[in-house]
Symmetry: D3
Subunit: 153 residues, 6 copies
Amino acid sequence: MSLTKFFEDYHLNYERTSTGRTITDADIVLHAGQTGDFYPHHMDEDWCKTQPFGSRIAHGTLTFSVGIGLGAGELNPEAMTYGYERLRFPNPVFINDTLKTTITIVNKYDHEKSPNTKGIVVERVITRKGNGDVVLVCDHLLLVNKNNPQDTL
Amino acid sequence: MSLTKFFEDYHLNYERTSTGRTITDADIVLHAGQTGDFYPHHMDEDWCKTQPFGSRIAHGTLTFSVGIGLGAGELNPEAMTYGYERLRFPNPVFINDTLKTTITIVNKYDHEKSPNTKGIVVERVITRKGNGDVVLVCDHLLLVNKNNPQDTL
Amino acid sequence: MSLTKFFEDYHLNYERTSTGRTITDADIVLHAGQTGDFYPHHMDEDWCKTQPFGSRIAHGTLTFSVGIGLGAGELNPEAMTYGYERLRFPNPVFINDTLKTTITIVNKYDHEKSPNTKGIVVERVITRKGNGDVVLVCDHLLLVNKNNPQDTL
Amino acid sequence: MSLTKFFEDYHLNYERTSTGRTITDADIVLHAGQTGDFYPHHMDEDWCKTQPFGSRIAHGTLTFSVGIGLGAGELNPEAMTYGYERLRFPNPVFINDTLKTTITIVNKYDHEKSPNTKGIVVERVITRKGNGDVVLVCDHLLLVNKNNPQDTL
Amino acid sequence: MSLTKFFEDYHLNYERTSTGRTITDADIVLHAGQTGDFYPHHMDEDWCKTQPFGSRIAHGTLTFSVGIGLGAGELNPEAMTYGYERLRFPNPVFINDTLKTTITIVNKYDHEKSPNTKGIVVERVITRKGNGDVVLVCDHLLLVNKNNPQDTL
Amino acid sequence: MSLTKFFEDYHLNYERTSTGRTITDADIVLHAGQTGDFYPHHMDEDWCKTQPFGSRIAHGTLTFSVGIGLGAGELNPEAMTYGYERLRFPNPVFINDTLKTTITIVNKYDHEKSPNTKGIVVERVITRKGNGDVVLVCDHLLLVNKNNPQDTL
């Protein structure tokens, strides 16, 4: 459940897709409880029925948490999360939507501060519903050690 | 608990700070359960003791969810989240750390696709522990309706 | 998110209404887990179908917890809860009912033990479903400091 | 686990004491999530340290929910909750306090609207910590069917 | 809520049946979170629809936990769980199934290591849905003190 | 995250060990809530201090659920759980104990009812704390399809 991969071991365009995860009522209730975000979009079914989207939707932070969590694979002791870029939620997530995350390596480059020993791997994260609608897009930046520290790209 | 604010009503450098929120053991357990991310950094105290950080740390998605949730204020029917940029986690969050979020308006500009009717407000979100350490930085992009639709900046 | 209000600042008949909160299956399951109350009214759908009310209902303590929680507004450092009176549950709460709480100041009087410095503010709490049915009524007694300690009513 | 008891079967001064229940960090986190009450008294350990009580305390609604839940015994199909009176929280509940509830029958009288068929049984509910401090007092009013409907007191 | 029973007090063929418990969506979500088992059988409604069983099913460990929990009665200080044998899950549990557990004493014998002072009581645990389908069968072995330590069977 | 393995692909003495999982206060609270088992061994710290084991311990069903969950690996569409045998809890699990599960294939044999097409693989499941103490032992019986249906052992 742990797999050592160095910067050199990440290949452009490599893609993997997660298992599916159905978002339930309980997920929204628990996430509201964790974040303190009780906006009516998530908690007030009566109000939602008066809105264009028509029923309760997941919090953006819930979609992000589950979407990223789905992509969690084997632990790589040579890599750590550097950050996320361009996080967008193109479509809302409703109760009973099933989400899957596809991760594609779209870029890799030397880490500016330590180009001889570390690099950045950019994973494009796309989470979709069963009908293909995209509900989350972002770039996940991984900071990864180089196996041959002298390497620069 | 609802407050109508148009694009024109957001002022550069306006800043607000949330109440505090102590991160507990239960938060990490519930977040692991919600995301399916059971990496040992969050779940294995014995392993964490062998690591430089020394004890279990919050998931990045938990820090983001709580940090953003702390900033949730009054509902503004004229605004919606457009996305997040440059999300970083400069320091880890440990059990019993108390977090507060400060939100500052750092930029505003016309929305490219509909400059006459909508604008983007950029909120810099910074979440800190009691000792001042920053644990989350990101830019929250709000898409906000203009009150006087002819306005362009 | 904190607002200082003295006894003199509370006005009879002042009324406010909360946002809405839909009670879900998950709320009942979590509340049973928190209280240890697994009575079939809350946990046994088959049995409930044989009863006049026809399906699972929320615990009274859940209705009270959510109803009161909905009314939680800004923190007032000059006030604290003294107690509750005449707590009643006129109608049951079913899964998918959306609750809102209305709070009205119905009485205020000097605190018997320290009439020069403190008073009691009585808030009538009424929680209703979307169809208007009342599910919770009680009086919330607030013990509030006086701004001009010599005042008695 | 069901025990039929009529109004005539409840005896003044009958007393029973529950098992114990330790209030944990997780209980407070879950209750905040259920109620949406994120006041710093419950959620902000840093702030609590600056206050006289010194550390996070349970919500009143949590103390009530657990205190009442502890008293839930066998289901009696002839009785239902009519309401609660004089609810008070004389002392705060801290994390790791263990609570027990003692229930004593302190009064019984005919139900005003249907004195021939129903009566009210008043249970005094007192919840204490291990050190004897009382954290909850209230009167629980039970509406109970009479076995011999002609009886009036 | 505590009842002392010695080995001699357990009688062959004694049977008791629990109250009912409806399994909900929230139970499955919480159990996945507790165990880390996010197999699609429990979490992916879209995938389940392509399978013979047709919709999400409870984890075996959830069925076991709830089935055994339903049988938890009064605390007996003279008995402890020795183990379980022949645990089987003949039918799947779906969301909204209501479970009841029947426990029958099917065997009792001296404890091999301390036959003079302890015995084993075997409880057959059978958990059924409302329609009679069995979802859990196992034997629960209780290690119980003898009242008259000289007894052997 | 899915890996097809037939009966022939399971090899005696093959062993794998899981990641670690620290049992927390929150796990016990959530499990009590899920099962309805509020015995003082799990919920009453004051009482536990008067007992030989000295502090709250995990439910057996929690130890089983987590221990088995830790062993959940890749999904094998050719296998399903047949049952569990000889489940024992040799030592109690305390809050902050970190558990790991080791699974070893100890036996395999033809399925009695369909020996030409299916076999039983027996996995010995042993869950240990960091100090080596065993807290769970059982045999997990897997029913696995044969790749070459004519095979019998």
